[in-house]
Amino acid sequence: MTATVQPARKRLRRRPAFGRFVFLGFYLLFVLAPLYWVLITSIKPSNDYLAVPPVWFPSEPTFIHYTVSLFAYRGLKGLTNSLIISLSATVLSALLGTFMAYSLARFNTGGKHLSFWVLSQRFLPPVAIILPVFLIYRNAGLHDTHVGLIIAYTVFTLPVSVWMMYAYFRQLPRSMEDAALVDGCTRWQAFWRVAMPLAAPGIVAAAVFAFIACWTEFFFALVLTSRDAFTLPTVFRAFIGFQGALYGEASALAIVSLAPSIALGILVQRHLVRGLTMGAVRG
C-alpha cells in the first residue's frame, strides 16, 4: 500500500459512520416522541392541555389521571382481567404447544402436513372466524367469560408456540432421551423429566411471547367480551373521540398497559428473532 491510498480510504469509512449516527439519532427521536408525549400527558394537569406553545413538561405534575382511569373508567378491572386471561392462556399455550412441538420434532407426527397446517392457522385473518366464533360462544354461554377468552387466546397463540418449540427441540440432541429410554423410562418420562427441563429456556421465551401477544390483543377481546371479562386494551374504547377531553386518562392507562409488556419484551430480546419468525431464523 502506498501512502496516498490510506487517507482516501479513511475518508470513505468515516463519512458513512457519521451519516449512520445522524440517521439513528433521528430514528430514535421518532420512536421516543410518542412515548414521551403519552408519558407527559399522563401527568399533565388538564389546564395545560390546550396551552400554546404546548407544555413539554408540566410544572405541577399530577397523578389524578391514573386514579380516574383505573377506578372511574374500570381500568383496574380490565387490568386484572387481562392478567388472569393472559396468564392462563400463556400457560396453556406454552404447555400444549410444547407437547405438540415435541411430538412433531421427535416423531415427525403427521409428516409435513400437520406442522404446516398448524402454521397456516397463524395467517388466518381473525375477522374470518370471529363471527361464527361469536355465535358459537353466545350459544355455549362462553360470551363475555374469562374461560371463553382464555380458550380463544390459547388457540390464537398456539401456532407460534408450537413452531418456536418445534425449532427448539430439533436443535436439542436426542441422546439424553434415548439414554433415559434405555434406562427404563416410559416415553412420557423421557419427555417430561429429561427433554422438558433441557428445553426450559426455550419454553420460557415462547411463553413470554405468547403472554405479550395476549396482553396486547384487541380484536377478539372487542368482540367476545362486554361488561365482565373485558381486557385492558378494550377499555380504550371509552376514550375514542375524547368527548370531554380524556387525554390524561387515556395516556395514564396506556402507560399502565405498556410498561409490563415492554419490560418482558426487553427481557427476552435475545430470542426476539426466533419469536418473530416462528423459529425459522435462529438469530
Binding site: 410518542p34 407426527t109 386494551p233 396506556a254 428473532v273
Partner: protein, 313 residues
C-alpha cells in the same frame, strides 16, 4: 446426565420393566396423545367456525330478518356489489403496499446502521424494539394524541418549522389521515423488519467484505454484490410475514379514525366488522369474510411457496 433425575431404576435382572396396561397403551400412542390437545383446540375454534360460517353464508342469518332460509349466492352477491366492500379491499391493498415498502426500506437502513458495534449499541437496540411490545390500540392512541387538533403538538411544531400557521386535522382530513395511519403502522412494525434483516446481515461472513475491500470494490457495489444476494431469503421472509399481518389492519383504524370520515378508512377487516357487529348482517359478513379468506389464501399460497423454494435451494 448427572443433573437429570430419572426415577425409574433398572431392575437388577435387566428385564424390560413392567408397565401397567394404561401406560403401555399411552406409550404406544404417545406421539398422537401429545398432539391431540392442540389439534382438538384448533379444530374446535378455527376449523369448526370456518365450516359453520360457510353454512351461515348460504342461508339467511340476519338479526333484522327472521328465519334461516337457504338463499344461495345472494349474500355473496350483496357483498360483491357493495361499493364500500370494493373500496375497502383497494384500501387494504394500498395500506399493505405502503406499509410494507416503507417498513422494509427503513428496517434495512436501520439494520445496516446497527450491524457494526459501537458504544451504546445495546441501549439503542433495546429502544428500537420497544414498539413491538405495545398494543396496536395504544400505538394508535399515542399517535392520535400526538397529531390531534387542537391537543397534539404536531401542528405547532410544523408551524414553527415552516414559518406559517399549519392547521391540519390529521385524523379527519384526506389525505392526511392516510399519513397518520401509515405512520402509526410504520412506527410499530419497522422494528419487525429491522430485527429479521439484522439477523440476516450478521450471518454474512465478514471476510467477503474484507476481500472486496482489498480488491478495491466500493461500498455501494459490495452492497449489491454481497449483501443483497446473501440477504435475499431473509428479505423475502420479513416481507412475507409482514404482508400477511398488515392485510389484517384493524386496531389502529378502530382507534384513530373509526373508519371515518364516512367509510373513507374502511379496511377489509374493518368493513367486515361493521357489517357483522354494528349492522348485524351476519350472513353478509360471513360471505364477505369467505371472499376475504380466499383472497388472503391466494396471497399466502403464492408467497409461502416462493419462500419454501428459496429455503430449499
Amino acid at each position: 446426565m448427572a443433573n437429570v433425575a430419572i426415577t425409574r431404576k433398572i431392575p437388577v435382572t435387566g428385564a424390560a420393566p413392567k408397565l401397567s396396561v394404561f401406560s403401555e397403551w399411552a406409550d404406544r400412542r404417545f406421539k398422537w396423545l401429545l398432539v391431540a390437545p392442540a389439534v382438538v383446540l384448533i379444530l374446535a375454534l378455527s376449523i369448526y367456525p370456518l365450516i359453520f360460517s360457510l353454512v351461515v353464508s348460504f342461508i339467511n342469518y340476519d338479526f333484522q330478518i327472521p328465519g334461516h332460509a337457504y338463499v344461495g349466492w345472494k349474500n355473496f352477491r350483496q357483498v360483491v356489489f357493495d361499493p364500500v366492500a370494493r373500496s375497502s379491499i383497494v384500501l387494504t391493498a394500498f395500506f399493505a403496499a405502503a406499509n410494507v415498502i416503507i417498513e422494509f426500506l427503513l428496517g434495512l437502513v436501520l439494520a445496516l446502521a446497527m450491524v457494526k458495534h459501537f458504544r451504546g449499541r445495546g441501549v439503542v437496540m433495546s429502544i428500537l424494539i420497544v414498539p413491538l411490545f405495545i398494543s396496536p390500540v395504544i400505538v394508535g392512541q399515542a399517535w392520535a394524541l400526538l397529531l390531534q387538533r387542537p391537543f397534539g403538538p404536531t401542528n405547532y411544531i410544523l408551524s414553527q418549522l415552516l414559518g406559517t400557521d399549519v392547521k391540519i386535522s390529521w385524523l379527519t382530513e384526506s389525505p392526511w389521515l392516510y399519513f397518520a395511519i401509515i405512520t402509526a403502522d410504520v412506527w410499530q412494525w419497522t422494528p419487525f423488519m429491522f430485527v429479521i434483516l439484522l439477523a440476516g446481515l450478521t450471518a454474512i461472513p465478514q471476510n467477503l467484505y474484507e476481500a472486496a475491500e482489498l480488491d478495491g470494490v466500493g461500498a455501494w457495489r459490495s452492497f449489491w454484490a454481497i449483501t443483497v444476494p446473501h440477504l435475499g431469503p431473509m428479505m423475502l421472509l420479513a416481507v412475507t410475514l409482514r404482508l400477511l399481518d398488515t392485510i389484517k389492519l384493524f386496531d389502529t383504524i378502530f382507534i384513530m379514525t373509526g373508519g371515518g370520515p364516512g367509510t373513507k378508512t374502511y379496511t377489509a377487516s374493518y368493513y367486515l366488522y361493521t357489517l357483522g357487529f354494528t349492522q348485524f348482517h351476519l350472513s353478509n359478513a360471513t360471505a364477505g369474510s369467505w371472499i376475504f379468506l380466499i383472497l388472503t389464501a391466494l396471497v399466502v399460497t403464492v408467497l409461502v411457496r416462493r419462500l419454501l423454494k428459496v429455503e430449499q435451494s
